[in-house]
Symmetry: D2
């Protein structure tokens, strides 16, 4: 199968290129970039020197891509831009996996509130938000367009959703603190993201209004059937990749650490990309960076009655490009782990 990537100059685009070049079952046939059109991949992604198979960035417009023999496209574009490509590619019968926010939110009003105008609302009904371990498998046949989840949402929903559904935690007083590596901000030449500013620096940002909230809370509502509001406190940590998320949530009456772990095991047993650590251990971003894995653990605090749940993932892999490849694998019938660590 031939696949293409639209827009690959950012950090998650770069990871996606590497994963697809090494994938055993698909052929990376096109990588587009307006800025870099004509350049070899390795000229822009030096990690690929000698390993870019002679591929060059192309400046194909959506119509040209729609007319090509490529079967599936990954959109690694800013929100807004993604919808404009999807608008052409989906009607042309191409499978599309979008890494932007454009189709993550089913509710148009919510999308508009967080992101502004939507450029292809007509595609929303045939789009599916797919968190591979949790989304019921019907999406594989229903979807024409798949929205891959955001990095923070993946690190929050995988730990939390099974617990809410199993009723082992309450729906109130959920507090999520997450610490992200700087690549989460994208490749932006702004003073704030300079090495000298970020090294040896730790700070909260985006309090009360981070865009990923929209996606998290919609999924919580969809999966549990009731509106759920969370406190989400993102932080910027002095590292390149990785998200460590810590969720504090009151235990439901009667719930124990064993019932919490049972709820997780019921969902994640045998799933290669979610690993459950013993209670008392804590996930470390350094152990998951470069893999498509999310590590999970929890403790119960008898003093407060809370569970404290910790997760770690690579924001660019399980939080973006790796998960997109995992979605492709499942959608197209390849082994779930093909081309992924």
């Amino acid at each position: 199968m031939k696949v293409g990537i639209v827009g690959a100059a950012g950090y998650s685009g770069e990871v996606l290129v590497k994963l697809l070049l090494a994938h055993p079952h698909v052929q990376l046939a096109a990588v587009t970039s307006r800025t870099h059109a004509g350049k070899p991949l390795a000229a822009v992604i030096p990690a690929l020197r000698g390993a870019d198979r002679g591929l060059k960035f192309v400046d194909s417009d959506a119509a040209a891509l729609a007319a090509s023999d490529i079967d599936l496209f990954f959109l690694a574009l800013p929100h807004g831009a993604a919808a404009t490509y999807a608008k052409t590619l989906v009607p042309a019968g191409k499978r599309v996996i979008d890494l932007s926010a454009d189709f993550r939110i089913a509710d148009l009003a919510t999308y508009r509130k967080y992101y502004g105008e939507h450029h292809a609302p007509e595609l929303l009904p045939s789009a599916r938000f797919v968190l591979p371990e949790l989304t019921p498998p019907a999406w594989k046949t229903e979807a024409k367009l798949v929205a891959a989840p955001g990095c923070y949402p993946t690190s929050i929903l995988l730990p939390l959703l099974p617990l809410l559904k199993a009723g082992v935690v309450t729906r109130e007083h959920i507090v999520v603190n997450a610490c992200s590596g700087v690549s989460g901000a994208g490749k932006k030449a702004e003073e704030m993201y300079l090495f000298v500013e970020r090294a040896e620096s730790m700070k909260a940002y985006g309090l009360t209004k981070h865009r990923h909230l929209a996606e998290v809370e919609e999924q919580l509502a969809v999966h549990t059937g009731a509106p759920t509001v969370i406190q989400f406190n993102p932080h910027l940590a002095p590292m390149r990749r990785g998200i460590a998320t810590t969720i504090t949530v009151p235990a439901a009456p009667g719930a124990t650490i064993d019932s919490l772990y049972a709820a997780w095991r019921a969902v994640y047993a045998g799933r290669p990309f979610v690993q459950i650590l013993a209670s008392g251990e804590t996930p470390d971003t350094a152990h998951v960076v470069g893999t498509n894995r999310l590590d999970l653990a929890a403790v119960h605090d008898p003093r407060t009655g809370n569970f404290v749940i910790t997760s770690a993932e690579d924001n660019l892999v399980k939080g973006a490009s790796g998960q997109a490849v995992q979605i492709m694998n499942l959608w197209c019938g390849y082994p779930e782990t093909a081309g992924l660590l």
Copy 2:
């Protein structure tokens, strides 16, 4: 005035040596260390090359120190060891500022639960826990021995106490997430603290049972007159110094962001070492490292009804040695900012 430091081989000891060498009103007359006795300060603390005024580490026992003409001692020792020195120095009429946990907790049973046996319980009545901006000034005359607060407690109590006392936040569902630089663990040659293990790594640790909880909750109870239980989630961040703390707490009925800021201003206006940032800004550890300052800010989240409160400090300065010097300044009648940035 002559001052001495007992035990100065760790990270906060090193900072203390530098601060006292540069202090305009006191003379650093002795620095003890069993391991390094006989060596020039600069041989162990190379940052002091050419600037250690010829001082050498000495291996004085407590009796010798008690017999010296030094007026005030800082104890920069592990808990347990500090009490054994205090036992001799305090009865000899020396002022003692202890940077360990030994005298931070007035309740002996609590101390024993978290730290084991206490080696000088008879000194507890004349010891005072002093958070300079919050402890009522009577300590200056009452105390024979001052316990300087821990790093995490400083970053939690300074933001939280005025709000609890003013009734602008609830006493329930307080969730504290804190991210500390690696120097917080001390100078321990253990695999976990190696550069290769910690660089580019973020993780929670010590969940539900961190020792600093004892001190935080006792102070909350002392200042507010009621037991208060918090969720404290410490994290290790890939940086050398600094603590960024994020506190989520429900607003009390009727409380607004203005009433929160008013409560802070009532306590911290004119205090040089607590700086209040505008709501919407967030403190950054990089802006406070090297200073004795704690930066503070808060936002109100109308969706959850919570306040999210953020603080940043240097764990080795405002969280340890700088605050100890600030205590000395106040105790001995020097300007509060003498020798401090």
Copy 3:
């Protein structure tokens, strides 16, 4: 083919485990460790959670390994220890690839001078030092035991040897400065390698007497037929992995930057793991970490008459475990790039 790893608790052992688990043509059948015997691989190498194929560390002695059905062993042990295993495995007909220094130096007197007593000098005649791009191919049939090159030597010999052999540089006044990530020192719980000591720190070390000199100078002599003495100045840089090496060497009379590049291309054209950058570009460790590649470039300085040659590699991959796998691939007839990026 079944392969085993003897001693895999260090940083290069960990990388070797990952490479061999993912290798398409061999089966990792045993991983030994005295310290960790009985534990699953993932308990010691958390990056392998869910991906260690159920393998556990075993405490097999050399005799048991010699009696097993494993065809090839990698020794990832300290020097000295490696020889004692090789002593049993080689006579038993096992192929051995040694990542230690024990068989890198053919001259016994030189070995003793730098490393002390040798525990299996009788194996030296059947051992070969193999730098895959440079060692003449006879080793594939002659060797019973292969010494994989050290990290610094790889970063020096690959740039320098073709130039000395082609006569485009002089043999005098060769100055090598190299900056290594901290993993180069191994997983040692010593104060010097703590995060707080090494972060934001840059320093030279091991001047005039680094052990890798022995190996570099022997290879220079073997390949060029004349003794060659270099100045080797290693440095420790605040990063986990990677070596950036800068070699200053006078151009031979008449040599130009074109003749230098021609000499490189004659040797490295078509070799996937040595990439030659345009003159004026400089290799960056960040572009090679995680790959088995060494990047190369050079400029001519008309003011001094020197060439300045720069290289970058991952000390744990091309400088250790990746190169060992590359050697296995060539020795056993697999594609050179099998299992390597």
Copy 4:
């Protein structure tokens, strides 16, 4: 004495503001910035919160500054811009200490070759390049304008000049490798200087044509009376501050490590800001960052006949603003160490 800073938005400007605010003998009376005019210092330099003494950035032009009652100005501007200010301030009788390159090079042709047109060549005769430990003291009365040395040049000239003058090293085959923290590039919002690009990355840059060469070689010629050409290989290291420089130079006939150290001691004995380490030790940037100190050491390599000389400094302090304050102290008759660590 009142002092002013023209242009203080960069990294060395920020350090200069901090040093002058804390200086015991001068009053920082004006800090100019076109971009930030009207803002409190602490709004741009958050490390100064609560400690900026109410100072605001002003947008004074050169004429207004010349008419003020400020006695001495520091120019912390890009080259070119500095000369245009000096043009007005010097004739008005103000003392000027310039941190740019504009007056570091006495030879106009050399300046033009490296930097382009000079905007105030008429000031060159009354300008002095001052490396406080080495420049003969006549500058204190002759100079109307002082050029503070660059960061790399300071780290090269202090080790090398006394040795060349004493004849203990040769003038040929001098190879300088230097590794600088990222702040050396200034506060530039360019992709190359982003955290994600520079963390965990080491690379050479600017080979054969770095601008600081002009200044180094002119000083070598001025002090030794003969043209001296060096190989200068700068590198970018993944840290914020600090320069570690390693110089390889052949020993002069008969020179020993003792004669080298004697040459250094003859010049640096009693100088607080140059510290000589024992042969075999190596300076570490972490030990000098935050101080105005340069640490020095050397070894002799009997195998090559070279001395290998290592130095470390803080590029923003001894390499820029601290040295500028040291110059002011000497020029104005304050103790050399006033306001400096």
